[in-house]
Symmetry: C2
């Protein structure tokens, strides 16, 4: 039983491998691919308490949140994601964007995004800004 | 009034400057100096829910937590702190240590440590492991 569990575990990507793939896709702005490929079905997405976006539990709620963000956005002028740092089953990166939100004008946003990995999948993302 | 506030604000270190100084001291293991020099008096320190250490509110509680950790520790064999990443008023770094805890044997621990900065001081530290 233990041996079976261990051999299953070996098939999972390590946190470093998930972070590397995340970074590869993030640099190209492929956020939907990141969700499909790297997120667990029951992943959570946590914004700061002061943010207008709600806690999203599960991949479909996370996709809905992305749609809400798109609806709030008039134009995305640019964005960046720096190379992740990795420790244990977490990785974090500095990212940001330059957007015009509807009725709010243009602004730049910078944040630390923190990801928790279990069994080779992202189970939680949390944003700090 | 606005002008006074702005000129006061200019005297504060930026998040990048706090992160740079933090890193300089952390590489030398000068954690007490980090607390004295860079932490706000009312700073909070947050461990994961599964950790045996409590939430510490205020610098004296944070110092008490450090003492508790020392009491739990038989020997510290080594440790590291990697260069911080910075975004907005947050910075984060990967850090870890190699310790023997009393009655628990030797183990290595890796974590992401996340710091929030306000007015040139660290107001919150949060550990993810």
């Amino acid at each position: 039983m233990t041996t079976q569990q261990e051999s299953t575990r070996e098939l999972h990507m390590t946190t470093q491998q998930v972070a590397d793939r995340f970074y590869e896709l993030a640099k190209e702005g492929r956020w939907e691919d990141i969700q499909s490929e790297l997120f667990s079905e029951d992943a959570k997405s946590i914004e700061p308490q002061h943010a207008p976006l709600p806690l999203a539990e599960g991949l479909s709620a996370i996709r809905k949140k992305a749609e809400q963000w798109q609806e709030m956005t008039e134009e995305t002028h640019g964005g960046y994601c720096n190379e992740p740092i990795v420790a244990g089953n977490f990785f974090a990166c500095a990212m940001g964007m330059d957007v015009t939100l509807k009725g709010q004008g243009r602004s730049t946003m910078d944040e630390i995004a923190l990801y928790e990995v279990r069994d080779g999948k992202i189970v939680q993302e949390q944003f700090f800004y």
